[in-house]
C-alpha cells in the first residue's frame, strides 16, 4: 500500500463570486459551497471564514476536517461517509494545508468545545493557526437531533472534498509518500500503535469506513487508511474528549512512527479497539487487541492511546497488563490528566498496573481567561457564562474546552510537571 499526498498551502481565504486559488489565496463562492453543504435536515446553512490572529471565537465545535480529494477516484473520498466503499490509503490524495472545514453545532452539546482564533488561542492549540471555513447550519423544523447531527457530520466531509478539488490545477507546494515497504528494517525494534476509541453512545463515537465501532471487536488496520480518510470523528457530546477528523488525517503517532520507520524502528502496524462500558467487554477487547499486536503485528513495543473520559483508562490498563505480562510486548501510554479537578497527583489514574511505568501526559487542568472576542461564530453559548452575557464576551474556561489543547492522541505539546 503506497499513499502519496500532495499539499497545496493556503495563506488566505476570501469569499468571491467564484471558487479558485490565486497564488496561495483560496477564493470561495459562498453560494456554491453553501449548496454543497446543504441538506434537507437543515433549514438554513451559512458559511463563515475565521482567520488566524483575529479576535474570532468559533463556538460549539463539531468536527474539523482537512480538505482532501482522492485524485484518481474522487468518488471514493471519505469512503463510507460521503464516498463509496473502497480501501483508503493508496494512490494520490490532494490536500490543502492551513485551512480546515469546521462545524459549529446549532444544538446543545453536553461538553462543548470552542476554538479561539487569537494568539492566546494559538498558544493552546494549532487549530487557532489555520483558516476555518465554518459550516453554520440550523436544524429544519421537526428534524430530530440525530438527523441534524448526521447531516452536519457529512456536510463537512462533502465540503472538504469540494474545497480540495478547487486546487486540482495548482502545482503542489509539497508532497509526502507513505509506505511500509522499505529496505533496512532488519534488527530494528517492531513498534505498533493501539488506538482505543470511544464509541459509547450515538454522537459520542467515531466511524471506521462510515460505521461506528460501538459493537465492534478490535481490528487491524493499515496506517495509510487512517491518514487517508477511513476514520472520522463523530463525537459531538463529549467534543474535547475525542480528536477531530483532522487529527486522524494527520495522526501524530502514525506520522512519528512513519518518520522513524527504517531509522530507529520498524512500524509494525495499527490496531483500533473500542472502549466498552462493561468490564467483560473491556477485557475481551483489550485481550484480543493485545493478541493481534503480538501474533499478527509481531510487535516488540506498543504505544497506546485512548479517547473518552475516566473509565477508558481501565481498558488501557488491561491492554498493558496483557501485552507486557503475557506477551512481553513493552508499552508506553499517553494519557490526559483530567480526573482530578484540583490536579492532585494522587487522583489522575483510575487503574493500577505494575507494567504501566511509562506514561506520557498530554496535560492537566488549567483555567484560561479569554478576553472578549470581536465576533462569535455559532449561537450556542459556552458552558461557563461569559462575564457580559454575550456570546463573544470575556469568559474563564477550562483549558480542556479548547479543542485540540490536550489531544489524547498526542497532537499537543502540553504535558505536566509534578511539584
Amino acid at each position: 500500500m503506497k499513499l502519496k499526498r500532495l499539499y497545496v498551502d493556503i495563506d488566505g481565504v476570501v469569499f468571491d463570486s467564484r471558487s479558485f486559488i490565486d497564488g496561495h489565496t483560496l477564493h470561495i463562492s459562498k453560494e456554491e459551497l453553501e449548496a454543497v453543504a446543504g441538506d434537507k435536515a437543515f433549514s438554513t446553512v451559512e458559511l463563515f471564514v475565521a482567520a488566524p490572529g483575529t479576535r474570532c471565537r468559533i463556538l460549539n465545535m463539531g468536527d474539523i476536517v482537512q480538505p482532501t480529494l482522492k485524485l484518481e477516484d474522487e468518488d471514493a473520498t471519505f469512503p463510507g461517509v460521503v464516498g463509496r466503499m473502497k480501501t483508503a490509503g493508496r494512490g494520490t490524495s490532494l490536500m490543502l494545508r492551513n485551512v480546515v472545514i469546521s462545524e459549529t453545532a446549532e444544538v446543545k452539546i453536553q461538553l462543548p468545545s470552542l476554538v479561539e482564533m487569537t494568539e492566546l488561542g494559538a498558544a493552546h492549540t494549532d487549530f487557532a493557526k489555520y483558516f476555518h471555513i465554518v459550516i453554520d447550519a440550523f436544524p429544519a423544523e421537526g428534524v430530530p437531533r440525530e438527523d441534524y447531527l448526521t447531516a452536519l457530520h457529512k456536510a463537512s466531509k462533502k465540503l472538504a472534498k469540494h474545497v480540495a478539488a478547487i486546487a486540482k490545477d495548482c502545482a503542489p507546494d509539497d508532497t509526502e509518500e507513505f509506505t511500509l515497504e522499505r529496505e533496512g528494517l532488519d534488527g530494528l525494534p517492531r513498534v505498533a500503535y493501539l488506538a482505543d476509541v470511544f464509541c459509547h453512545a450515538p454522537f459520542v463515537e467515531m466511524t471506521l469506513y462510515g460505521e461506528s465501532m460501538a459493537a465492534a471487536m478490535p481490528v487491524i488496520i493499515h496506517p495509510n487508511e487512517i491518514l487517508d480518510g477511513a476514520v472520522t470523528n463523530k463525537d459531538y457530546d463529549n467534543s474535547s474528549n475525542a480528536d477531530p477528523t483532522y487529527v486522524w488525517q494527520n495522526h501524530p503517532i502514525i506520522l512519528e512512527l512513519y518518520r522513524r520507520h527504517g531509522v530507529d524502528l520498524n512500524f509494525a502496524g495499527v490496531v483500533l479497539s473500542n472502549i466498552h462500558h462493561t468490564v467483560e467487554w473491556k477485557q475481551r477487547n483489550a485481550t484480543m487487541a493485545a493478541a493481534m499486536i503480538h501474533n499478527q503485528l509481531r510487535a516488540d513495543g506498543c504505544i497506546i492511546t485512548k479517547e473518552g473520559g475516566g473509565h477508558p483508562q481501565v481498558d488501557v490498563g488491561f491492554a498493558t497488563d496483557v501485552l507486557e505480562g503475557e506477551f512481553g510486548v513493552r508499552t508506553t501510554l499517553i494519557l490526559a490528566e483530567f480526573l482530578s479537578p484540583n490536579n492532585d497527583a494522587r487522583g489522575q489514574l483510575l487503574f493500577k498496573s505494575k507494567y504501566a511505568d511509562a506514561i506520557v501526559s498530554t496535560g492537566c487542568f488549567d483555567m484560561v481567561d479569554l478576553p472578549a472576542a470581536d465576533t462569535a461564530i455559532g449561537h450556542i453559548p459556552t458552558l461557563m457564562p461569559t462575564k457580559d452575557g454575550t456570546l463573544a464576551g470575556p469568559v474563564t474556561i477550562n483549558n480542556r474546552s479548547m479543542q485540540g489543547c490536550e489531544s489524547q492522541m498526542g497532537w499537543t505539546r502540553f504535558g505536566s510537571l509534578k511539584f
Binding site: T278, V279, H311, V314, G317, L349, F351, K352
Partner: protein, 69 residues
C-alpha cells in the same frame, strides 16, 4: 477512597460496584461486582416482584461477605 478510609479505620465495609478494576487499583479488600453500573442492586429484565427477591439475595451475599475475612 471511601472504602479505603473505612478499612483504615477498622470498620468492616463491602464495596458493591461495577467498575471493580478501579476499586482494585485502590486496594479494596471486600469488593463485590454488580451486574451493571446502571442498576447495581437490580435486574430490570425480570418483573418487579422477582427483582426484589433477587435484590434480597444480592444484599444477603454482600452482608455475608462482612462475616468473612
Amino acid at each position: 477512597m471511601i472504602t479505603r478510609e473505612f478499612e483504615k479505620a477498622g470498620i468492616p465495609i463491602v464495596q458493591w460496584c461495577n467498575m471493580t478494576p478501579v476499586a482494585e487499583s485502590i486496594g479494596v479488600n471486600r469488593l463485590m461486582e454488580s451486574k451493571s453500573i446502571k442498576y447495581p442492586f437490580g435486574n430490570p429484565d425480570v418483573p418487579p416482584e422477582q427483582e426484589k427477591l433477587e435484590r434480597v439475595q444480592m444484599l444477603k451475599k454482600a452482608l455475608t461477605r462482612l462475616t468473612q475475612p
